[in-house]
């Protein structure tokens, strides 16, 4: 599984999204109500732990992390920097 698929799998399972037809890699997880505000932190904890990276406050300010694809891009960037 690539990075995007791993994040997608986690979000789908952890937030009990299942096979909702409106869910995809480019949907805004927060605006569309798939993930509530507390979930944002949980996603960051997951990716930090799972991929062994550190998301800084600067990353959050500089890069949008509202969709699965955006989150995957940040993770890939951080992994490349390691």
């Amino acid at each position: 599984m690539n990075v995007l698929e791993q994040i997608e799998g986690y979000v789908q399972e952890h937030f009990e999204i299942g096979d909702d037809p409106d869910f995809n890699e480019d949907v805004n997880l927060f605006d569309e109500g798939f993930v509530d505000s507390l979930g944002a932190t949980e996603i960051v904890f997951f990716i930090e732990d799972h991929f062994g990276i550190q998301i800084t406050q600067k990353d959050i300010i500089l890069y949008p992390m509202n969709t699965i694809r955006e989150i995957a891009q940040v993770v890939e960037r951080k992994m490349a920097e390691k």
Binding site: F30, G33, F34, S37, T41, Q57, I61
Partner: protein, 504 residues
């Protein structure tokens, strides 16, 4: 006494020209650079024919540019009216109908949005204003014409019919407030304030004017960061922030997420909160984690210039105990009045009514609303004395006041005031809604929305539609579709019955 709250800038820019005044995620401005930008933008505003007391709508992201624009409007002798950059356009349209701005300062993205919605007539680009060669004598003459009872800013809050109300606050209210903040919390040029609030929310007055009057540094914290409490606290540490004034929602999520654990934050000295009830359970988490800080609970509606009572937390509280809102502060007088207008005895509930020179001038372009809320003090028959009826209930507990809830359908979300009628007005705009009823769950602190419709909406699909008419904090956390809403004998929606049925 200063005639304008913007005078602080002139003095501070002289004293600390090369010290950082304000910083956001894109960069920083020294006090000298801030004043230069303000003079240029003020010149640009005057060049576009703006006259004293004409409001300047500020439609910009939470940024240094917003700060420059507010002060430039004041230098040009005009009040500023900040709106949320994420405001739905239908709401912005109603705000503009009430405000009737002479100019709307925005960026390129904002200008496109305004034009597409047919609201672009008064729009002017910040970058174009900034390009003006400063005409210092003209700007100073405009500021000299201001008197301290002129409006400094107009803040929009929720109205019960769905049209936002613009609270017009005079310079003297802001000047007095800034003095009280600086004195009470010992803000100096060495302080660093971490701004949580958006500028369209009057809590930002605390940070902005405390910095302007002392030369302290204003760190504008990006809104997005508050979704990640650990990262916000990282920023507090990294920027060596010494004073925060945050809404309880944000403090609660930091406590609940464990974001304070294992942090020393030796630079943080002062933790102030206001805007909604702060539970002792989470405050105790803060107090245990950061015992060296001073904690203070402020209370007040926008109509009295941000806050009118202050409680410095001076003793331990059990998790379940209520936290007082304290004593009248900064020369305000607070009366607790019963239904018949007589003062409540100790321990008896009364409506919190506020007197003093911090009172707002009224609601912009809404005389009738103003007369209803700003009334003659019933205990004074000797001279006209305006009093603001807050609609909040309180009782005396020794020398301090305890907050006891609302007497109407107003409530708070993330410290932002909301009327149930405002939520219903927005929900009614969604396609297929025949009628709806909004209720507030006091325990969970969330909005419950009951909708009469034939469409197969669920919470997610409904909120997606409703977002076009309402800011995010107005969307329901609980959503139900009903075939028919129950009615009382008068044919009105039977709210008490719905509240019982939903256990609220």
């Amino acid at each position: 006494m200063l005639n304008s709250a913007a005078r602080y800038l002139a003095v501070t820019a002289q004293r600390f020209p090369d010290k950082t005044a304000v910083e956001d995620e894109h960069g920083e401005l020294t006090w000298r650079a801030l004043e230069s930008a303000v003079l240029a933008v003020a010149t640009g505003l005057l060049a576009r024919g703006i006259e004293r007391d004409q409001p300047v709508l500020v439609y910009l992201p939470k940024s240094r540019e917003s700060v420059v624009t507010f002060l430039a409007a004041l230098y040009a002798g005009c009040p500023y009216a900040p709106v949320d950059y994420a405001i739905p356009l239908s709401r912005l349209e109603r705000t503009m109908e009430t405000l009737r701005p002479a100019l709307t300062v925005t960026d390129e993205e904002g200008q496109v949005r305004l034009r597409e919605a047919g609201l672009g007539e008064t729009a002017v680009l910040y970058t174009d204003l900034l390009a003006a060669a400063p005409d210092v004598p003209a700007v100073l003459a405009a500021m000299d014409g201001v008197i301290d009872t002129d409006p400094c800013y107009i803040m929009f809050t929720s109205g019960s019919t769905g049209t936002p109300k613009g609270v017009a606050v005079p310079h003297r209210g802001v000047l007095e407030y800034a003095e009280a903040v600086v004195e009470t919390f010992q803000i100096t040029a060495d302080s660093v304030l971490g701004l949580q609030s958006g500028f369209h929310f009057d809590n930002s007055t605390f940070d902005l004017y405390a910095c302007l009057s002392t030369g302290a540094k204003l760190v504008i914290i990006p809104e997005i960061l508050f979704k990640y409490p650990h990262k916000v606290m990282d920023l507090v540490a990294e920027k060596e922030i010494s004073c925060i004034f945050w809404v309880p929602t944000v403090m609660i999520s930091a406590a609940n997420a464990g974001a304070l654990e294992g942090r020393a934050l030796p630079r943080l000295k002062t933790v102030v909160f206001a805007g909604e009830v702060m539970p002792n359970k989470q405050l105790n988490v803060w107090r245990r984690a950061l015992p060296h800080c001073v904690y203070a609970n402020l209370y007040g509606p926008t109509e009295v210039t941000v806050d009118c009572t202050c409680y410095i937390v001076d003793r331990p509280f059990a998790d379940s105990a209520p936290l007082p809102i304290g004593k009248p502060w900064r020369g305000a007088r607070v009366l607790l009045l019963k239904e018949d207008g007589s003062p409540a005895a100790e321990g008896e509930e009364g409506e919190i009514c506020v007197l003093g020179s911090g009172l707002a001038l009224g609601y912009w372009n809404a005389l009738e609303l103003t007369e209803k809320a700003f009334v003659q003090n019933p205990l004074n028959s000797n001279y006209p004395e305006k009093m603001y009826r807050t609609g909040d209930m309180g009782k005396w507990d020794g020398e301090d006041i305890l907050f006891c809830g609302r007497r109407d359908s107003q409530f708070k979300m993330r410290g932002i005031r909301l009327e149930l009628g405002d939520v219903e007005a927005a929900a009614s705009c969604v396609e297929g809604v025949r009628r709806c009823c909004a209720l507030f769950d006091q325990v969970k602190q969330e909005i419950v929305l009951l909708v009469e419709t034939d469409k197969p909406y669920n919470k997610r699909t409904f909120n997606r539609e409703m977002r076009a008419f309402a800011p995010a904090y107005m969307l329901p956390a609980r959503f139900e579709v009903l075939d028919e809403l129950p009615e009382n004998a008068n044919g009105k929606i039977d709210r008490p019955r719905l509240r019982r049925e939903y256990g609220l």
